[in-house]
Symmetry: C2
């Protein structure tokens, strides 16, 4: 009976004492004179299985030679384990070597540093840590799709290639079919972009929001979930040049409604991961971030604080702390402030109504003329997890902001027109998927929650 470990774990009672066949890899191999133990995993489950074999097998000697990392097909009897820490073991009847692995295999059953494993990015999913991280990544992605689809949102595939340059083209990668060694020139001696495939300068996008708004004006509730790109030349733990974003956009929704969605969605995701990945979460709790499980459980049961930027500055100014950056009603808040605020309120905090000069041009200006209806969600331990706003739905006001902020109007004419053709009040937010994963796993570096991370100077594999 060909099975995988996932099935064996979920149907152990009905499979107990049956002969089963599994296919997977040798994670570790301990040999004694008359007996041997193989730590086996087929990748379908975080938890592996122990294979036990002894010298009653005719090919005992061959089995003893099996290398760590080898691919095997094993047939044996599934028996209840006598050891408390494992549910079962498999008493081997036969093992077939499917693919050998040399002794210089980089992934050995010992602790490797994360830096070393980044250099082995194509092999690191075989380690416990990355097996857990990337399984949670997959499950969290599914949680997001389920949340939005169950709540009537349409999944919109907004384009990645764009000629809309609203983020500022210096932050966007150019995409081209031109030959760098032989760029065609126009009569002014500049690159002749009409020779490019799209007949003009094109970029890969940093946001799906603008196109998402067009879809929200048709389907009311939409979300995007896809890769985004920034050229930021910065080597921090939280920056990568390619990352995934979720960007919901909702017609007839104000800032309060938006916060309701953000809170509801985050609780749904966290709960989903706690339910579907209990062993992975236990692992992170034990080896990566002590208290992780409590942190996540607490979030699901908490009520998020909602407070204005002005009130936050009040709190920070009153605090008995010597700030590196002085809190100011006109400025963004610093990492140290974020940390203080989530600790002060002992949980996630929505900060609303930010000074308009430090926020984006498309956000709705509040009646005070000074702040915008923007909201950032700060979570304990991970800082800003989502950023959203009510969008400016008034055509004339939007145009005024576009002029003030010197945004290139021409390429977003169509976007502005959404305000003319049956526009309505609407809101949306963006969540960096990797930032969510950092929060969910406790793994601190964005390079360790992306399968093959791209950062300045690093585009291996």
């Amino acid at each position: 009976m060909l099975k995988d470990l996932k099935e064996v774990y979920s149907n152990f009672n009905s499979l107990e004492n049956e002969e089963i066949t599994l296919q997977g890899w040798v994670r570790n191999h301990r040999k004694q004179k008359e007996i041997g133990f193989i730590d086996f995993n087929d990748g379908t489950s975080f938890k592996g299985a122990q294979l036990v074999y002894d010298n009653s097998l005719s090919d005992f000697d061959d089995i003893q030679k099996l290398h760590i990392g080898s691919a095997i097909t094993v047939t044996g009897k599934l028996v209840k384990s006598l050891r408390e820490e494992q549910l079962f073991e498999i008493v081997v009847k036969s093992i077939k070597l499917e693919g050998d692995c040399p002794e210089d295999y980089p992934i050995q059953p010992k602790r490797h540093t994360r830096e070393f494993l980044r250099e082995q990015a194509y092999l690191r999913p075989r380690t416990n840590l990355f097996s857990a991280v990337f399984r949670v990544r997959s499950v969290a992605a599914m949680a997001i799709h389920e949340y939005f689809q169950n709540n009537g949102y349409v999944y919109a595939h907004t384009p990645l290639i764009t000629t809309t340059d609203c983020e500022g083209s210096d932050q966007m990668f150019k995409i081209t079919t031109l030959d760098f060694d032989n760029i065609p020139l126009n009569k002014d001696g500049k690159a002749d972009m009409t020779k490019d495939l799209f007949s003009k300068k094109a970029y890969v996008t940093g946001t799906g929001q603008l196109h998402g708004e067009a879809f929200a004006m048709a389907f009311k509730k939409i979300y995007t979930f896809g890769p985004t790109f920034r050229t930021e030349n910065s080597n921090t733990k939280t920056h990568a040049n390619e990352f995934w974003m979720i960007e919901p956009e909702i017609a007839f929704c104000d800032l309060e409604g938006l916060m309701n969605v953000e809170e509801d969605m985050l609780k749904y995701i966290v709960n989903y991961v706690l339910e579907k990945c209990p062993t992975e979460i236990e692992f992170f709790d034990k080896f990566v971030e002590k208290g992780l499980k409590d942190k996540l459980t607490k979030l699901v049961n908490s009520k998020f604080t909602r407070i204005t930027h002005h009130e936050v500055i009040d709190v920070l100014k009153k605090a008995d702390v010597k700030w590196e950056f002085t809190p100011s009603y006109e400025d963004d808040i610093a990492k140290e402030h974020e940390k203080y605020i989530t600790e002060y309120f002992n949980g996630p905090v929505f900060i609303t109504n930010w000074p308009k000069d430090i926020k984006a041009w498309y956000m709705k200006v509040n009646e005070d003329g000074k702040t915008v209806a923007a909201v950032d969600l700060e979570v304990p331990g991970a800082g800003e997890l989502m950023g959203g706003s009510q969008r400016e739905e008034d055509y004339d006001k939007l145009l005024k902001r576009i002029e003030e902020m010197e945004v290139d109007k021409e390429s977003i004419d169509w976007f502005c027109n959404l305000r003319k053709f049956g526009g309505c009040y609407h809101s949306g937010f963006g969540m960096g998927f990797e930032r969510l994963l950092i929060y969910l796993t406790g793994v601190e570096n964005i390079r360790d929650v992306i399968p093959f991370p791209r950062t300045p100077g690093n585009c291996e594999f």
Copy 2:
């Protein structure tokens, strides 16, 4: 009671005769002297609702002035309709104008050509056709995620930016932070790519397969689902420069096993869409492709034919047809052949064991030395829907093929190493998501199943 149309349709019985509030858009407006009818839709449901108002309302005159396309909030009583073709109508109590729409609004309640609507891509989701297409796109995407997640696959986010050039770099877009007007040169007078963000030439990818294989060697069963790019300068109905692909990769899986997955997955998706989008499918059946619903229902209940390329050529040679392209045992088959074969077998056909010279370098060469363990799935009306293969798992054989096919070995060293470090027999396939949508909706042109299509010379919005 604030509701959306989706809820009203699914809970009509409990809401009947209640006063409800809806928010959405005026699709059409017919006015009589003492009464008026508004075709209303809020985008949460393909089917809209009729609003009925009469001159007993104090603002009757204002309501009569409502333009097509306007955003409104309407409150009224939900009553069972006396007309057979609609379940209910809403007897208006009040309407608030949320956003006006001028009379030159491009989307009028009449038939627009698809060509015209492509030029209004940001507005076309508001039409019946595109509302149906993009809702099916969303639902089909969810079907894919559900299928793989329910069957124990890990969703792998393979990178889009890559320096691996295995498809041939002429088919890939370059991605850069360099200034085209001022490309830095090295001492040979060539572009100095060390000055680029990744310190070398980088591309956006046309496949996630290579990285998917690395993940399959850790998780056994994985799938990708994301955007891919090709620079193809071709203006056909089936080519776009940006499209979405699904690429599952499965360890310990041979070609037969792969066909089982492909067949099972496709039936799951089709069934899911039939169940979740019955009105959209009815609409396509009536206005886009007569017989679509039968075609889809038949597929779910059929057994797909499995036949070798050699046998296909036999069938084609025996056919009493004057071919434009002569069928050959050494060549690919033409569109006319695909059509004939699916009609001949009256359903989907897996064609296996293709001549190795016309297929990719990573496919497993069969024992005959002439063919590879590749499989294409041909479906009636849409041609090739999926392409897959068993992968060459033998390190030395793979290297030989890489040399023969003149693939750049250096950038895929890591990929070849997967064969050294516990490699095993494994298989995978790719499905173009848009091709699936063309099959599911009957809409023929790829530009009409992508929200904002990118084709040569076209990158608007």
